[in-house]
Assembly symmetry: C2
Homo-oligomer: 345 residues x 2
DNA sequence: CTGTTAGCGCATTCAA
DNA sequence: TTGAATGCGCTAACAG
């Protein structure tokens, strides 16, 4: 069966195409009676406006791109989609995921974006832009929303966690538990890509200083590049080795993400280090496994956050002035079983 | 800046629009030299074909809808997107998620789909269609692919788990461990929606019979509707009560999903029932938490499966005859810590 | 291998 | 409140 068009509906209703178009889009200035008649006929014929044709004619695509550098099936990424979907779908927008797994493919994608009318806005997840990329996006009129971004630069709006606040909560806890020597463990990184979670390490150092920790009582463990390890567990083993041989001898560590924290705890225990008796561990995210793993962590709610991002996106697309374009959300500290008071070993 | 069009590129290259179109789509019958020239200019001008305009002109939308009844941020659903994305994106297709959370909204969506040219195919996840819905989809020329569907009816292709095979593995294990009385626990269901995982209970009964278990040694626990419980944990508590008061006294149970199995184990332990000493538990899925929870389970790989679904979708859209339209994948049994030999309490 | 001609299905002027 | 005319940016015959 060939497609039913707006024109067919118009013929059946005995009105013009324009009237059908207006009626079906819910515009005013349509006689209530003719509107009802048109809607009735459209329903009977299973007629739906073609998004493509509408887009072409109106210049609005009714689509929002959500850009990842990673797989869609991670806790954080899938939650990002869910929240944004919830908000955008109510206004008829499609949410279209795209993955740019490397710096090069990101460049290519952004280049293309410039001349592109395939979406009305783009939400960039967990990733920040270098100068060249910002420059490119600056040339677009399309709103660019940073979600879980490192900063606000280059974005028309951002939603992200307040790392300083979060780290203050974590370190205040550790200090009150009597820990005098602290460590921070970074994730293995992806070459040339900048992730917001990397700011957690920066915040850690800053807050530790603020709380009176001297440099020689702070250690920062950096496993290097993701390419260096087959799995997260391998990276964790490598970090455990660094921790054990560190002159700082931390009795408590904060980890960039829960994902890596859990791997780390496994690795620590495999080496005979007890958690939390020998070393306390605080994660970041409160991802789905954290309760099961009994992980003390900084809780964030990415679905809630991405709803906010969706709302900002909507506002930007409507051209509304945003009351607050750059939103920081606060993480809350969740106490579970991987933190304990310090005691000498 | 106003949009650059194909025509602009044509002018700059001194050729006609059609030539640019052909060159940029990688069609043959374009002089290599002019192709290179066109590509060069397109790149310089950041030109990208408008998917909307292409769609309108060609009748192909280059978009595939993936339909869920549930949130995008579940282990299974997000994995489904990932696999399909991997395959479809290589051919330039966008993957557009849609959620129809209730039977009514599913009906509405399918109705709309009929007259709709907003996607070239639809992948329906974890859900089967009733007669009316199948009828509606039968009127479409669009390929309809069932992923994790209950059966093949109404679908042009399907990818799903072989439940009988999986349950045979699970029950054979339990039998060899000496368990004489078995139970199956269903998930709380969503009213009026049919899920493939419900077939696991059917397979359980069938296989139990095949293995010589009498009816009075088999119990099926059904917590009822999802609406009846605030949380999965509440539903689990309710099931634990049923298990403890069941005349069958099962010493081993299979659970429809890992998700619910983990909740159940927590609940069992809260009631003082030891797992696996007092009761063995086998889950289904091997979802991300299963290793952490030490859950013995039937392993499936939804990313791999959805890649397969993506390939079938591609074939169907090209109009190729599929060597095998209905694919069943086998689950494998993963032994962990929630199963043990039977011993009298 | 390339150019010409006609739409694809709608939204948007402008009139009426 | 409605209709007629025009074009969004591209692809698809068909010639050449």
């Amino acid at each position: 069966m060939s497609r039913i068009t707006l024109h067919d509906v118009a013929l059946a209703a005995g009105v013009s195409d324009s009237t059908v178009s207006r009626a079906l889009r819910g515009l005013d200035k349509v006689n209530p009676k003719t509107r009802i008649k048109i809607e009735e006929i459209a329903r009977r014929q299973h007629f739906v406006l073609s998004k493509n044709a509408s887009s072409l004619a109106s210049g609005k695509t009714m689509r929002v791109t959500i850009l990842f550098t990673d797989q869609l099936n991670t806790w954080f990424n899938s939650s990002s989609m869910q929240g944004a979907y919830e908000v955008l779908s109510t206004q008829g927008y499609d949410l279209v995921p795209h993955i740019a797994p490397s710096a090069a493919s990101l460049d290519a994608y952004l280049d293309a974006l410039l001349g592109n009318r395939n979406s009305d806005a783009i939400i960039v997840v967990s990733l920040s832009l270098n100068e060249r990329q910002r420059e490119i996006l600056g040339l677009t009129t399309m709103p660019v929303i940073g979600f879980d971004s490192r900063g606000t630069e280059g974005f028309d709006a951002t939603v992200r966690i307040d790392e300083d606040d979060a780290m203050t909560k974590a370190l205040t806890l550790l200090q009150s538990l009597g820990h005098r020597r602290l460590g921070f463990v970074s994730m293995p990184n992806v070459p040339k890509l900048l992730f917001s979670s990397q700011l957690r390490g920066v915040a850690f150092v800053k807050v530790a200083h603020d709380l009176g920790y001297a440099d020689e009582h702070i250690a920062h463990f950096n496993p290097g590049t993701r390419d260096d390890f087959r799995t997260l567990d391998d990276a964790a083993s490598s970090v455990v080795a660094s921790i054990l041989s560190s002159p700082v001898h931390p009795s408590a560590i904060c980890v960039e993400t829960d994902d890596f924290a859990v791997a780390l705890i496994y690795s620590l225990r495999r080496f005979g280090i007890r958690v939390p008796q020998d070393i306390s561990v605080i994660g970041f995210d409160d991802y789905a496994y954290a309760p099961l793993a009994g992980l003390t962590t900084l809780h964030q709610n990415p679905v809630e956050m991405s709803r906010m991002a969706g709302r900002l996106t909507l506002g930007l697309m409507k051209g509304e002035p945003l009351p607050q374009a750059h939103v920081r959300m606060r993480a809350s500290l969740v106490l579970r079983d991987t933190t304990a008071p310090y005691h000498r070993r």
